[in-house]
């Protein structure tokens, strides 16, 4: 592979650069508490909250950096941050 001057390459490169490995704590849903309010999806700075067909959500751990905003903002405390086990 040759590099291109100006670091010009195809668009959407952040998809190739999986940043989930930066995470120390991972968010986990308790679907019994979730009211499908969508706040977590709206507030996630990395678009790592994906809607499911049943109206609930799931985390894309390839890109979730574990910032915890979703857990902090969840009005029903339906998200807990768990320490990543190596």
């Amino acid at each position: 592979m040759k590099i291109v001057p100006g670091a010009v390459c195809e668009a959407g490169t952040s998809r190739a650069n999986k940043t989930g490995g930066w995470r120390t704590f991972k968010p986990v849903y308790d679907y019994d508490k979730c009211i499908k309010c969508k706040l977590c999806e709206l507030l996630c700075p990395d678009s790592a909250v994906k809607p499911r067909e049943d109206g609930y959500f799931e985390f894309d751990y390839d890109f979730c950096k574990g910032c915890g905003i979703c857990a902090n903002e969840c009005p029903k405390d339906a998200i807990t941050m768990e320490l990543e086990e190596k």
């Binding site: 590099i3 001057p5 100006g6 670091a7 010009v8 390459c9 195809e10 668009a11 490169t13």
Partner: protein, 404 residues
């Protein structure tokens, strides 16, 4: 064979330096101009604004922005889509651009910007020295310094051609001394549209931002790749060394005007003392040389036109047989007690066979006037060095001891 400039008097008009530069920009057919006012650069973008209002610049957007950071950031986008992009700034404005300067050169966007050189605060000063652009020497921008208004305006077309060369693709600064050149009225030939249309081809970059073919510019480079991007930028600078010369020659052939390529020489052939300098001070030095030559003082001038890329070989060639080299700097690297041109000149002589004493003078800070008597005094010092060697390597000039 030295090239001569013959000015066609029937084509000459008396205009302000800023107007001559703005006219050149117009003639270069820019597609995007970003503008934020700052003294002493403001007249350039004001004149361009007038041209826009009068419908004299077709196919061009003129963007008023809210800071110099935005002025250059706007051009990152416009240059990436393939628009010929221009701005002008100075002093604090240029320093505010610092981060964006690296982005522009790193993304290989051939933006041309006029810098009306001005001192940097604090203390606040609107007057001329060259600290502002010298402080940006490591950002990957080509820097040429103009001696007079004609050169500053002609340089604009040369720099678009150099920067947009597909083997270079690096941005450049056309540096002209603030007020001394930006606000002075001089007879000049305004850049000719018909010749320029032949001289400067349309900007046609290999890679552009285009929604139908999306690309990323300046993508993430991890430690496995970053070094190689810097290496390519340095190679482009080395290519620019040759291109600056060939473009100046080509310009001379087509327009009949020549102010030097990387450097220019004045009475250097047999000179014992060679003075090195950049910008408008060169005119004062030539006057002094003319007078001293009548008294058989063998003194010559090496005008440094390109500071980045640094013309090491060209400089070595000129000064190798001199007995003393005197370097004048309108800047200081604080903590080094020396100006940048002096430091660089000394550094390129190390590890060579050239053994000529080099002495430096920091001069004209914050617009301090540089009379011919000051140049006389410096040349007297140089004569002393020829006899008894260097006592002071680098010093302030005309320092008012009673004030400190």
């Amino acid at each position: 064979m030295p090239r001569e400039t013959t000015m066609d008097k029937s084509k000459m008009v008396v205009v302000e330096g800023s107007y001559a530069v703005a006219h050149s920009v117009k003639v270069c057919r820019p597609n995007v101009i970003s503008a934020y006012p700052i003294t002493p650069q403001t007249h350039i973008v004001e004149d361009l604004s007038q041209f826009m209002a009068d419908g004299e610049i077709p196919n061009c957007e003129y963007i008023n922005v809210e800071s110099e950071f935005s002025a250059l950031s706007a051009l990152v986008g416009s240059s990436a889509v393939g628009a010929r992009s221009y701005s002008a700034t100075t002093s604090q404005g240029l320093e505010l651009m610092h981060e964006v300067l690296f982005n522009v050169s790193g993304m290989r966007l051939p933006i041309v910007m006029t810098v009306a050189n001005r001192a940097v605060s604090a203390p606040i000063s609107i007057w001329n020295d060259q600290q502002d652009s010298i402080a940006q020497r490591d950002t990957g921008w080509i820097q040429l310094y103009a001696e007079n208004i004609q050169e500053a305006s002609d340089m604009t077309a040369q720099l678009f051609k150099i920067s947009e060369d597909k083997d270079i693709m690096m941005p450049s600064m056309a540096c002209m001394d603030g007020f001394i050149l930006s606000h002075v009225y001089e007879p000049v030939v305004l850049l000719e549209q018909d010749i320029t249309d032949e001289f400067l081809p349309p900007f046609n970059p290999e890679r552009t931002l285009d929604p139908s073919n999306p690309l990323t510019f300046g993508a993430f480079a991890d430690p496995n790749y970053y070094t190689e991007f810097r290496y390519l930028q340095e190679q482009a600078m080395q290519t620019a060394l040759k291109k600056i010369e060939t473009v100046a020659d080509e310009f001379s052939d087509m327009y009949g005007r020549y102010f030097g390529g990387l450097i220019d020489e004045y009475q250097t052939e047999d000179a014992d003392i060679i003075i090195m300098a950049m910008g408008s001070i060169v005119g004062t030095i030539k006057d002094v040389i003319d007078r001293l030559r009548e008294n058989n003082v063998k003194v010559g001038l090496l005008k440094v036109r390109a500071f980045r890329p640094f013309p090491a070989e060209a400089i070595k060639n000129v000064i190798k047989d001199a007995k003393v080299v005197v370097v004048l700097d309108k800047n200081i690297s604080l903590g080094m007690n020396a100006g940048a041109l002096f430091i660089e000149t000394k550094s390129v002589l190390y590890n060579t066979d050239i053994d000529v004493p080099v002495t430096g003078y920091m001069i004209g800070h914050g617009g301090r006037d540089i009379p011919t008597s000051t140049i006389d005094k410096i040349i007297d010092d140089a004569k002393e060095i020829m006899k008894s060697g260097i006592k002071t390597e680098s010093q302030f000039t005309d320092l008012k001891e009673e004030l400190v």
